[in-house]
């Protein structure tokens, strides 16, 4: 989605050589990471298996991170309930399947419901406090977090549910490396939805309006863009991407429980910050990087085990902020007095 970025702020990008040096550094870093992974995969089957798993999980983190970035770009606020919304929609999918729908129809219905839910929440709860302060909006999303948690526990109970994997238990074998259908399926579904959202932003009039509303709300309103509606649709799309993340994350978590998205939300935070918080492409790349790093670390450093995964990602988040606070694709914020 980088072309969205460049086209909207082209005037700012072109100037000065310092930015270009930074871009080259980032490109070099990504190239280095790719070469490292490639060599590792050729050297060791375990490494290759972990890498595939990491990329699959990473695409899920990336799509949730993208949801966060969509909301952040438009309103400069983080929706802390994004993960819980994804959890709620996953429960809705579980319910639909329990009522007899097969996987893919339930999947489609869930995405539609998620879009509607996101839009309605923005209009009813966020819009009234939107112009007050960042803190006010954050607190409303926090209230939403608690409310969704309570509602899910109320309707479906807190016990673990299991959901059938849409991709079965099969696997491919590539050069002696087993690759689960599940992982390939996760990546394909997530990347297809990300590309569709990108295409919507890039090639449709609606997308153009949404980009305008995010970058220059006042100017966009003057040329006839309905900024309020654009923000609501943005929330809907974010909820939709979150639903994809929730549904694709569920099979890898073994069980569905009301807290299953909380660690994933933290990973998505790290991914979004790594990507620069403003950059949609950065969110996806950040998600893949976080996913691979986490899987490899857990695979090769047994001390981290299952308990220290979230604290590890927290440490990574702090490290990113210390070393490169603007992330890979972010730009330094310039404020006028």
């Amino acid at each position: 989605m980088s072309s969205v970025e460049t086209s909207s702020i082209a005037g700012f990008r072109g100037r000065g050589g310092a930015l270009d040096a930074g871009t080259a550094g980032v490109a070099l870093f990504l190239l280095g990471a790719a070469i490292f992974l490639l060599i590792g995969c050729l050297q060791s089957k375990t490494f290759a298996q972990l890498t595939v798993e990491g990329l699959a999980l990473g695409s899920v983190y990336g799509s949730l991170a993208l949801a966060l970035v969509l909301v952040y770009r438009a309103t400069h606020v983080i929706n802390f309930a994004q993960g819980e919304l994804a959890m709620l929609t996953t429960y809705i999918a579980w319910d639909l399947m329990n009522k007899g729908l097969s996987y893919w129809p339930a999947f489609a219905a869930t995405l539609a419901i998620a879009f509607g839910l996101g839009t309605v929440l923005q209009v009813t709860l966020i819009r009234p406090v939107q112009h007050r302060s960042v803190i006010a909006v954050v607190i409303v999303t926090v209230g939403l977090f608690i409310l969704i948690d309570g509602v899910v526990n109320w309707i479906w109970g807190g016990d673990f549910k299991s959901m059938k994997s849409p991709f079965g238990n099969g696997f491919f074998e590539v050069g002696g490396v087993t690759i689960l259908h599940l992982y390939v399926g996760m990546m394909v579904v997530v990347l297809v939805s990300v590309v569709l959202v990108w295409a919507l932003f890039r090639f449709t009039k609606l997308g153009l309006g949404m980009r305008a509303a995010a970058v220059r709300p006042a100017a966009a309103a003057l040329v006839g863009v309905r900024v309020d509606s654009m923000l609501a649709i943005g929330w809907g799309l974010a909820a939709l991407l979150g639903a994809v993340a929730g549904l694709m994350a569920e099979p890898s978590q073994i069980f569905l429980s009301p807290t299953f998205m909380q660690p994933i939300l933290v990973y998505a935070f790290a991914a979004a910050v790594l990507g620069g918080l403003e950059s949609p492409a950065g969110a996806v790349v950040g998600g893949l990087l976080i996913g691979v790093t986490l899987t490899l670390i857990v695979g090769y450093v047994p001390q981290i085990g299952s308990e220290l995964q979230v604290p590890f990602v927290f440490a990574v988040l702090l490290l990113i902020l210390l070393v490169k606070p603007t992330g890979l694709f972010g730009r330094r914020e310039v404020r006028r007095v």
Binding site: I135, A136, G143, I146, F269, V273, E307, L308
Partner: protein
Amino acid sequence: MRRQIPALASLLVVAAVLCLLPFILSDYNVYLAAQVGIFFIAVLGLNILTGYTGQISIGHGAFMAIGGYTTAVMSRDHGTNLVVTMVMAFAICFVVGLLVGLPALRLSGVYLALVTFALAVSIPYIPLQYSTFLGGSGGVSVQQSQVPSNLWVYTAAWACSAILFVLAWLILRGRVGRAFRAVRDSEIAAVASGVELPVYKTLAFGISAAYAGVAGSLFVLALNGFAQPSEFDIFLSLQILVGAAVAGLGSLWGILIGAAFVGLLPQVSTSVPVIGAAHGRDVVFGAAVILIMLLLPDGFAGLLARIRRLARA
């Protein structure tokens, strides 16, 4: 000076009521009143950060966890006097607050919110990993002989509240408080007037974390001296933030109401019919928070100010 007389008078009334309460209330209600005192300290601490310095933290439960575990571990291993453990909790959380705040505070408030949220989700995993020292999922308990009564916790909680309230008032009325408010109102203007942004932002975060540490220490004592990872989940952090929002940011007067709201509502709402005990808390709590944010933009402090204006007119 004259303008402060009503304020002082109402403070004295509150103090007198708090002194009388243990003689009137049943033991369980004393426990509830102690809960309010504990949240009073935590919300007060968060208000220094969010209300006066304009930085959001969604992770103060993490500092409560650190404070609580400090008390439990010191008592378990050395039988340290509980009051001393509270002072230690204050000091340790102050330092940890500085460490966590440093990287996040270089950026805008949203980053601090992200980092503190991630911290709050991470913290409960630490005792699970280091279970020999921190007791795993079973938790750590203070020594049997040191488990305090509800009355003890009540007294300690409100004594600490009083001390920390005065401390907050002293900090906020002077030079430091002016610097905090300058940072909140405009970072650029603050820098231009010679306020060292990193120093004051980090200091506010450290103080605020230290307050949460003391609250956490008391929180564990109120749970019969048991520190368990499940008590310090993300909900606790959200509760503190909600308390500060309900109280009204940037004012010390609403805090009592904010603390009572978050201290009592979860207990009261467990008896809500239809929804059921375990989830009533979250449903009622979440809905209440959203409603209050929509209807009372400045929390109860704002409501009080509005009433006062009406009374004067």
